[in-house]
């Protein structure tokens, strides 16, 4: 893979002064001086007036509400906003490092246009006018030649709305996609919609406060350091809730578990079916609840009859006693016993069915709408800023919605083309699948995709088969990268828009579907550093240049936000004075719906679909069955990957404070296996997959904490981006070892736990 350093011809005059905007470059900015500051005395809070601004954290997509403290125009400290239901005054380590992220000296500082070959990383700095005009010209040319559908827009992180949702719909492309769907949540949320008629949603609606038993399947809370989840998990457990952890690895959470089931990777559905078997055959399920709220109990009963714990034991490499005992622990505490709907569920390509199996067990436990189970979340009321009808509705669909799903027909772009990702053919339904848009860029099948906008997605470190992505990047007519950092793929862009970080910009309001629906705000603590620009401003400036004026009627972002806030009786100033959040009333429990004579379930029957007619009608199993997953070849290990608490995806590896705490990933391998291979902890090895692709070097962590048939590493390392001082070449890349993925034929998810590696010497 190309190792590309951005080779930038510096422009002489930085501040260009786009009319009516506040684009004063702040030169070296407060960041540099911060980094140089050693043990300040007196402490920062004694050096001037401490000014607080409200925001939502962007260090991961979880969106904790934060209170940002600045002194003398310098952002110093970020704390959790005590009024915010997600953060409750606390933050994870990444959130605490937000100032370090902002002050990263490697940040992109000016708009740039490519001068060398694509991938060479040669650019010249240009004015915003030039960058915007050039981009507008390029995408208009694509539109004229191929139609607006030929522009794909990929986006991630908490600012992705402006490009991936708003601009995409106004412009008219159905090919907008987010990795948070088909490379993360699609199978889970499609399974939920098939079963209950609603997606799980971004903030898993677990009623932690009254929960008595928590089951985690692959969720590694603590290493996955989503703030609220850690808070709730630890509190519930300290209150005495039982914890069951199903994981091939003795994770931080497994070390806290009352029951650890070190399952053989890929066999979770067998375990779930056996749990269902125990609950039903031992009459340990909530029959009254299911009689009232579910259909398909008889089919489910018949279906799981043969799937006894004895059947599942050899498959899962667990004992029948373990399986039976844990099912009883759950049922003894039902309905206050929940299998947590995990994240990043794209594992083996059969993931919607596995998630359905989870939801069926949860249904047998009667958890939905029950205290201590899963509550029903609700989105806050907030009116949109008035805009003309979109050219294409639904856009990417976000993490959990199929674009335009109300109509059940795939929305068409202005020249009559539906999304190019193979929805309805290669897979049944769900949000636009990012990884399925790569082939069309190469093959022009079903039609040509000629342009790509990448907003905040680390393209070559998140989509499997990165060599294929590079092939696509070579073939495109135009690539725009919007980012804060010179990530690996930025070298492949024609134009680079450097974004101001979340601490330097206003942004769209953040509506959180929750037990108490609420709205978060983002206001700048400082003006944009360097010659950077907020995403909303880029989208608007581009929109005005490509004839989308009607969609960007607002003159200032303040006016846009104030208009929206007026619909909930507030405005920017008032929301700030109220502490940065607006909290509304929810409708969390079954009894709330019964009182209103409504059903919370939005399936056709208005009930939980234990057997799915939708799936049966489309030729899939109405109730999940266990299908074996391909085994690693002799001498290879299954490649598992996950998180360490101080890093997010492939985004934070360069952040100075986080890199200092965890600079590179390690390869977890069972100690006995390592010994047999002649390795000890600290040895540096390379990894090679069964396709011959290599990544490394990576330090061995020989440990008893993992099964013998798999290895594990933190995702997001091993980046080849020489513009990233701390991240470049550090550790090994799981993505670069993914020469295949398995498409989930239901949700379009790309299953990535199907790659096998062995340890080798040298690169």
């Amino acid at each position: 893979m190309a190792r590309v350093k951005l080779d930038i011809t510096r422009r002489q005059f930085l501040a260009t002064g786009l009319a009516g905007t506040a684009l004063l470059g702040t030169g070296m900015g407060p960041g540099r001086s911060n980094l140089a500051m050693r043990y300040p005395d007196p402490p920062w809070f004694a050096t001037g007036e401490v000014v607080t601004t409200y925001n939502y954290c962007d260090m991961c997509p979880w969106r904790c509400g934060i209170a940002v403290q600045s002194v003398d125009g310098k952002v110093i400290k970020i704390d959790g906003n005590i009024l915010d239901p997600k953060s409750r005054g606390k933050l994870c380590g990444r959130g605490q490092a937000g100032v370090s992220f902002m002050n990263d000296p490697d940040r992109l500082q000016s708009p740039m246009i490519r001068t060398g070959e694509r991938g060479e990383g040669k650019f010249r700095e240009v004015t915003w006018e030039e960058a915007l005009d050039y981009t507008a010209e390029k995408i208009l040319a694509i539109k004229d030649t191929y139609g607006p559908e030929a522009l794909a827009i990929f986006g991630h992180t908490t600012g992705d709305f402006w490009f991936t949702d708003y601009f995409a719909q106004a412009w008219g492309t159905p090919n907008a996609a987010k990795p948070s769907s088909s490379l993360c949540l699609s199978p889970r949320d499609e399974a939920s919609k098939l079963t209950f008629g609603f997606p799980v949603g971004g903030h898993e609606p677990m009623d932690w406060d009254e929960m008595e038993c928590i089951t985690l399947i692959g969720s590694h809370i603590g290493e996955d350091s989503r703030n609220t989840v850690m808070q709730d998990f630890v509190e519930a457990r300290a209150r005495g809730a039982q914890v069951i952890v199903v994981d091939p690895r003795f994770s931080s959470a497994a070390a806290k578990a009352d029951y650890w089931l070190p399952i053989k990777p890929g066999t979770d559905t067998a375990l779930l079916l056996a749990w269902a078997n125990v609950l039903i055959t031992e009459n340990r399920f909530d029959r009254a609840y299911l009689d009232e709220w579910a259909t398909g109990l008889d089919e489910l009963t018949a279906h799981v009859r043969e799937f006894t714990p004895e059947w599942a034991a050899p498959i899962t490499d667990l004992s029948a006693e373990q399986i039976r005992a844990t099912a009883r622990v759950m049922s003894d505490r039902s309905p206050r016993a929940v299998i947590m709907p995990g994240r990043h569920v794209v594992w083996y390509g059969n993931d919607t069915q596995r998630m359905r199996a989870e939801f069926l067990v949860n249904s047998l436990l009667g958890v939905y709408g029950r205290h201590g189970g899963m509550y029903f979340n609700k989105s806050p009321f907030l009116e949109a800023y008035p805009h003309p009808p979109f050219a294409v509705t639904g856009s990417s669909g976000g993490c959990s919605a199929e674009p335009g799903e109300e109509s059940d027909v795939l929305p068409l772009g202005p020249t009559g083309k539906a999304r190019a990702d193979g929805a309805r053919e290669a897979f049944l339904r769900g949000p636009t699948a990012m990884q399925e848009l790569i082939d069309p860029m190469i093959t022009d099948d079903p039609y040509r995709i000629a342009g790509l906008v990448v907003y905040g997605v680390n393209l070559l470190n998140s989509i499997p088969i990165p060599n294929r992505t590079i092939e696509a990047l070579k073939k495109l007519d135009f690539v725009l990268a919007v980012d804060v950092l010179p990530q690996e793929h930025v070298a492949w862009a024609d134009v680079v828009f450097p974004e101001a970080t979340y601490l330097e910009r206003y942004d769209e309001l953040s509506p959180i579907a929750h037990k108490t629906p609420y709205i978060q705000m983002r206001e700048p603590a400082v003006p944009p550093m360097y010659d950077t620009m907020p995403g909303w401003m880029m989208a608007r400036e581009l929109g005005l240049r490509v004839g989308l004026d009607a969609f960007f009627k607002w003159e200032t972002i303040e006016e846009y936000l104030d208009t929206r806030l007026r619909s909930v009786g507030s405005n920017l100033e008032k929301m700030h004075d109220d502490g940065g959040v607006i909290i509304q009333e929810g409708k969390p429990y079954l009894e709330d719906f019964v009182a209103d004579g409504e059903t919370p379930f939005h399936t056709a029957s208005g009930k939980i679909q234990l057997a799915s007619e939708d799936l049966a009608g489309a030729g899939f199993d109405a109730i999940p069955v266990y299908e074996p997953t391909e085994e690693p070849p002799e001498g290879y290990y299954r490649l598992l990957y996950g998180r360490v608490p101080v890093h997010t995806f492939a985004k934070t590896q360069n952040t100075p404070a986080l890199s200092a705490v965890y600079p590179e990933n390690e390869l977890w391998i069972n100690e006995d296996e390592a010994t047999a291979l002649g390795y000890v902890t600290g040895d540096r090895v390379w990894l090679e997959n069964d396709n011959g692709d290599r990544s490394g070097p990576i330090a061995v962590k020989a440990t008893q904490r993992i099964r013998k048939d798999a290895v594990f590493m933190a995702h997001g390392f091993g980046q080849n981006a020489e513009g990233l001082t701390n991240a470049n070449g550090r550790g090994a890349s799981d993505t670069k070892l993914m020469s295949r993925y398995k498409l989930d034929p239901i949700s379009g998810g790309g299953g990535m736990r199907v790659n096998f590696v062995r340890l080798v010497e040298g690169g």
Partner: protein
């Protein structure tokens, strides 16, 4: 009144938020951290137990670092071990003598948790405590913290039969009271740290003179060497001397092999 931290290792989930909050709130240099999370595992797959050692200043009442500090940069206040970096001469004695291996040299001076002296002094609470998502950390009057720790241990005996308090008596009583799920050794914490007065005595009469040019280190017993040899004492003393050119005269090269 003496203050103390409560650190409940049955709650701590190893997320390192405390590490980063401390770095941010105290504006520590990027390569410095006052807290380190170290994973420990016992047993063989799949019969395992494990957890984290949350390595940070223990704020000993009889603090060896304070006793050996020649400049008074390290001192006790409100039951906590403070550090005045301006007064630190960079001799590194604290680094060598701490029974818990806490202080490190950063920027040529000692560096360790000072209990957020400035922040707490201004009416705030320690940065690490404020952010800990697991509420594993609390801060308050030592007696109350100790009482709370005892309550905690009693409440978790079912789950952790060997649950115990650490810090009530060690090193004269710590300002960091730990609630542990198991014996301290399982997290690599010494059940009984070397008795401070004995260490200090040897240090003051044997080691300090050596570093100032005396040649009697060979006379020192194995006890003190247990602590000192651990980190290649003489080599580090030479480093200390290099970084602190204006300080005491160099040691006798003959002692190198000791």
């Amino acid at each position: 009144m003496a203050s103390a931290f409560l650190l409940d290792m049955t709650r701590c989930i190893g997320c390192e938020a405390c590490v980063l909050a401390c770095k941010a709130g105290n504006q520590l240099p990027v390569d410095t951290q006052y807290i380190e999370l170290i994973e420990h595992t016992s047993g063989t797959f799949p019969d395992l137990t494990g957890g984290f050692q949350n390595h940070r200043c223990y704020h000993c009442a009889d603090a060896t670092c304070v006793a050996v500090c020649p400049t008074g940069a390290l001192f006790k206040e409100d039951g906590l071990t403070r550090l005045d970096r301006d007064a630190c001469s960079g001799c590194g004695y604290c680094v060598q003598s701490c029974p818990y291996e806490v202080p490190v040299m950063s920027d040529g001076r000692s560096s360790k948790c000072d209990g957020c002296a400035a922040n707490v002094g201004a009416g705030g609470s320690p940065w690490c405590v404020t952010t800990c998502p697991a509420k594993a950390l609390e801060f308050g009057v030592r007696d109350a913290i100790l009482a709370k720790a005892k309550e905690r241990v009693a409440a978790i005996k079912d789950r952790y039969p060997k649950a115990q308090i650490y810090g009530e008596t060690q090193a004269g009583g710590l300002g960091l009271i730990l609630v542990l799920p198991d014996d301290p050794e399982t997290l690599d914490i010494p059940a009984d740290p070397p008795d401070a007065p004995a260490v200090v005595d040897l240090w003051k009469h044997v080691v300090q003179p050596v570093s100032m040019g005396a040649t009697v280190l060979a006379a020192a017993g194995a006890g003190v060497l247990g602590i000192i040899a651990r980190r290649n004492h003489m080599a580090e003393l030479r480093e200390v001397e290099e970084t602190e050119k204006a300080g005491v005269s160099s040691g006798d090269p003959d002692t190198e092999d000791v």
